[in-house]
């Protein structure tokens, strides 16, 4: 029988009591009651087309929580903007939004709610902006509806309503468009002038076309090119000429020279060159900006980690939902099963298990006893837990980690671009040459001074020079994005080439979340298969990784459930299979006589029946990636917050001899500083929040997709396809990019070295100078297009069955 998958979320349907949802007159199997509610609600709104339109299944619907706390005034003041006319506006970050069909579904479902006036969904930003009338519907109802659909809503504070990212994107698009329109018009009129120069044209007609050309170039120079002028002004004030200075200089120069030529009826104008130059550069910057925006910012990440609402116990012990910012030190808080701990504090109830993997890297849920510390941002796995608040707000460990990121980001060495400095020198040299030319011609033949110095300026206009680096970079960003590798900072490509020491995190980076069975040893009374079957039945109701591994090893997805199953936190499970009582779990739990090790033991009331050894699952491409990096002479190290045995096991399987275990975020940062002091260029690859400070402090930070948003926000490169192998591909592209960049720079140098002297001695008429300038720019762009993953001479390993070639929004 083929494994059933849930109609709503696509996860396998487990258990022998099938839950069905009635959609479109047919019964569809679903995995849980939450998914049934979601599917039937969607159908009742007449939106079942969603299942046809979507290209990625939504997250598993969870039981809809209680959002009534969001109607409290204190919370609303922070999150809701009240407009004139009695309308309210809120911005909600949605966890689990994946494809355009999600946005379609959310829009349709919310507009059916009473009082909703406007809905703006942004799929890349994973957020929805809702305007509604608070008299007709409450915020908690809206959030409840979103949760009902299977998305986890996190309202964002009021500042996020005026979206900086959106405004930046819109302005960039407008500038690009203006430059594009202006360029097309200016070129059209330039063709008339070129033709006129060859065929003959009346002076009045020629001047008319020049004035028109000037007219269409004005918006390009004064509106579209404004970022370059602003940047150049900043660079000049700081006395550090970068890339913007020569660009702004070239644009201004060509524009002013053309105006002068127009006014005095000179030989040639260059409006087309100016606007084409601006358009090409803006295009490169637009691509760069889009890649940058794909990464979620720190604010979003924090919104997900830190719950906004907590269940506080009042003096009579009655729970009451309050905003987290209202919590005081000493308050008593209840944290439900699966909820996030709202503040640092100590456990008041007897014991609970918490998942701190996001914060510490420890892969197993940890057992906490009364009086022990719980930290904000960790998740209670087996609860509920009752805790006393000890530290709130900025004092919590989570906030400390965020501060560490901030500090590490300030320490990050600023990589300067190759082209930047070179272009600075080039502009200075060019000015000197122009001045010398003008001076020399003024002595020799004053009538030719202007034409000759203009030819020098135009022929050597640093267009090719200025495009050499951005054109290659823009091309490599596109190529990498197609392979699911998102480059977020402009320096990442250069850092990737220089990196010669790779520090990997373990959990979630080298290993997947989950376990696999390595060996099973039967004590002899039953065969291994029978033992596994008993174990799978005992674990049939559990979602613990060990249970998943045992069920998978037993080969049955839906084993019959054992009777009287009881789970003990930190121990294991016990229950009756075929009338016999069995215990399964840590050795001490299953059989009091055993020495406790990492293995899982199955025992009945008399003796041990079997031992199972489990290990973490390596990412499929981890061995190949590590081998590839080692082959190219890079140092490799594993630093993890996990226990020594587990880190050693993973390092041993990958043949890595340097590793550190139980490493805190601060220690990771210190280790990086030490490595860098030894002259290494360190790349850090990680996925968790605990990696975020180390990522921010590394020369190159690589985050693995599917990890914590906070990690991605401090990364230079995100491997969105969830493949570690992307690292090797990115290195290949980076090397190709550097080679192309050098060729581009060399070409523009050679071209200038040849053309400038000719122009200076007056052999190059300005029209030829303009053609030369355009051709040299085009040559640079054409050369840049040669960058691909399988670039010639790089012997790219064909990626075997890359699962996902489309860029996944981070």
């Amino acid at each position: 029988m083929p494994a059933l998958t849930c109609f709503h979320c696509g996860e396998p349907v487990a258990g022998d009591t099938p839950v069905v949802a009635r959609v479109g007159g047919l019964d569809h199997p679903v995995c849980c009651i939450g998914c049934r509610a979601a599917a039937e609600w969607i159908a009742s709104l007449g939106l079942q087309d969603y299942y046809r339109l979507r290209d990625a299944p939504p997250p598993r619907a969870v039981a809809v929580g209680d959002y009534s706390a969001w109607d409290r005034d204190q919370l609303q003041r922070m999150y809701v903007h009240h407009r004139d006319g009695g309308e309210a506006e809120v911005c909600v970050l949605l966890e689990g939004m994946r494809c355009p069909a999600c946005s379609w579904l959310i829009e349709r479902a919310l507009s059916a709610m009473p009082g909703v006036r406007e809905i703006g969904v942004s799929v890349p930003g994973k957020r929805v902006r809702i305007v509604w009338q608070p008299q007709l519907g409450s915020l908690s109802q809206l959030l409840g509806a979103l949760a009902h659909l299977g998305y986890v809503p996190h309202p964002l504070d009021r500042e996020s309503l005026n979206d900086v990212v959106e405004r930046e994107q819109r302005t960039a698009l407008k500038r690009l468009m203006v430059a594009g329109l202006g360029m097309m018009q200016a070129m059209m009129f330039a063709i008339v002038l070129y033709a006129g120069a060859l065929e003959g044209i009346e002076t009045s007609t020629r001047d008319f076309f020049r004035w028109i050309g000037l007219l269409v170039t004005i918006p390009v120079v004064f509106y579209a090119a404004r970022p370059f002028f602003a940047g150049a002004w900043r660079e000049l004030r700081a006395l550090r000429p970068g890339m913007d200075t020569p660009v702004a200089f070239a644009v201004a120069l060509v524009f002013v020279a053309s105006i002068v030529e127009t006014l005095r009826g000179g030989a040639h104008v260059y409006f087309d060159s100016a606007s084409m130059f601006v358009f090409l550069l803006l295009g490169g910057r637009y691509l760069e900006m889009r890649a940058r925006h794909r990464a979620a910012d720190v604010v979003d990440a924090l919104a997900r980690l830190q719950p906004a609402v907590a269940e506080r116990l009042d003096a009579n012990g009655v729970p009451e939902s309050v905003g987290v910012h209202e919590l005081q030190i000493g308050d008593c808080v209840v944290v439900a099963d699966g909820a996030t701990v709202p503040a640092d504090g100590e456990l008041v109830s007897t014991e609970c298990r918490v998942d701190e993997s996001l914060l510490s890297g420890e892969s197993k849920p940890l057992l906490r006893h009364r009086g022990e510390r719980l930290i904000a941002g960790s998740i209670v796995v087996e609860g509920p837990a009752q805790m006393r608040v000890a530290r709130v707000g900025a004092e919590t460990t989570l906030s400390a980690i965020v501060r560490l990121i901030g500090r590490a980001q300030q320490q990050r060495p600023r990589w300067t671009r190759y082209g930047d400095r070179a272009a600075g020198y080039f502009v200075c040299a060019l000015l000197v040459v122009t001045a010398v030319t003008a001076a020399a011609w003024l002595v020799i033949d004053p009538t030719r001074a202007f034409a000759a110095s203009l030819a020098v300026l135009v022929v050597a206009c640093p267009c090719a020079f200025a495009l050499a680096v951005p054109a290659a970079l823009a091309r490599s960003l596109t190529v990498l994005a197609q392979r699911g590798i998102l480059v977020l900072t402009p320096n990442a490509i250069e850092s990737l080439i220089r990196a010669n020491y790779f520090v990997f995190d373990k959990t979630g980076t080298l290993s997947k979340r989950g376990l696999e069975l390595v060996s099973s040893l039967s004590a002899g009374r039953f065969t291994v298969e029978e033992c596994l079957r008993i174990a799978a039945q005992l674990e049939s109701g559990s979602t613990h990784p060990i249970a998943d591994a045992l069920r998978a090893a037993a080969g049955c997805a839906e084993p019959a459930r054992a009777q009287d199953v009881r789970a003990t936190a930190g121990g294991g499970v016990e229950g009756d299979v075929d009338g016999v009582h069995y215990r399964l779990g840590r050795a001490q739990f299953a059989s009091a006589t055993e020495v406790d090790d990492d293995r899982i033991v199955l025992a009945d009331s008399r003796a041990i029946l079997a031992r199972f050894e489990l290990r973490e699952v390596l990412r499929d491409d981890a061995p190949a990636t590590v081998a590839e990096l080692r082959a190219s002479g890079c140092g490799i190290e594993v630093l993890s917050g996990d226990s020594h045995a587990r880190v050693a096991a993973i390092a041993g399987r990958l043949g890595i001899d340097r590793f550190g275990s139980r490493v805190h975020p601060e220690q990771k940062l210190a280790r990086l500083a030490q490595l860098r002091a030894e002259g290494m260029n360190v790349a850090v690859i990680g996925d968790g929040v605990n990696d975020a400070p180390a990522l921010a402090g590394a020369d190159l930070a690589v985050a693995v997709g599917g990890g914590a948003e906070l990690a991605k926000s401090s990364a230079d490169i995100v491997l969105a396809g969830d493949r570690l192998g992307g690292l090797v591909e990115a290195r290949i592209v980076a090397v190709a990019t550097r080679r192309i960049m050098r060729q581009n720079l060399l070409w523009s140098l050679v071209y200038n070295a040849a053309a400038v002297p000719l122009a200076a001695i007056g052999w190059v008429p300005p029209w030829l100078a303009a053609i030369g300038m355009s051709l040299s720019s085009l040559a640079v762009i054409a050369n840049s297009l040669r960058i691909r993953v399988g670039a010639p001479g790089t012997a790219a390993p064909a990626p075997a069955a890359a699962p996902d070639l489309t860029p996944v929004p981070a």
Partner: protein
């Protein structure tokens, strides 16, 4: 040839109009989400509920 003195300013007016239309579009959220609207026509028949779909059936 004198017609160009009329036609070219006219073309500039058209370009200005196109630019204005584009700015209007950007300012009115037309370029924020380029993926979702493509799905809407696919579902228009049933999007307004099963009642309408039935009424269209022969």
């Amino acid at each position: 040839m004198n017609i160009v003195f009329v036609l070219i300013p006219l073309s500039l007016v058209l370009v200005a109009l196109a630019g204005w239309a584009f700015f209007w579009g950007v300012n009115h959220d037309q370029f924020d989400d380029l993926d979702t609207p493509a799905l809407i026509p696919l579902s228009d028949e049933t999007a307004n509920g099963p009642a309408e779909a039935e009424s269209k059936a022969p």
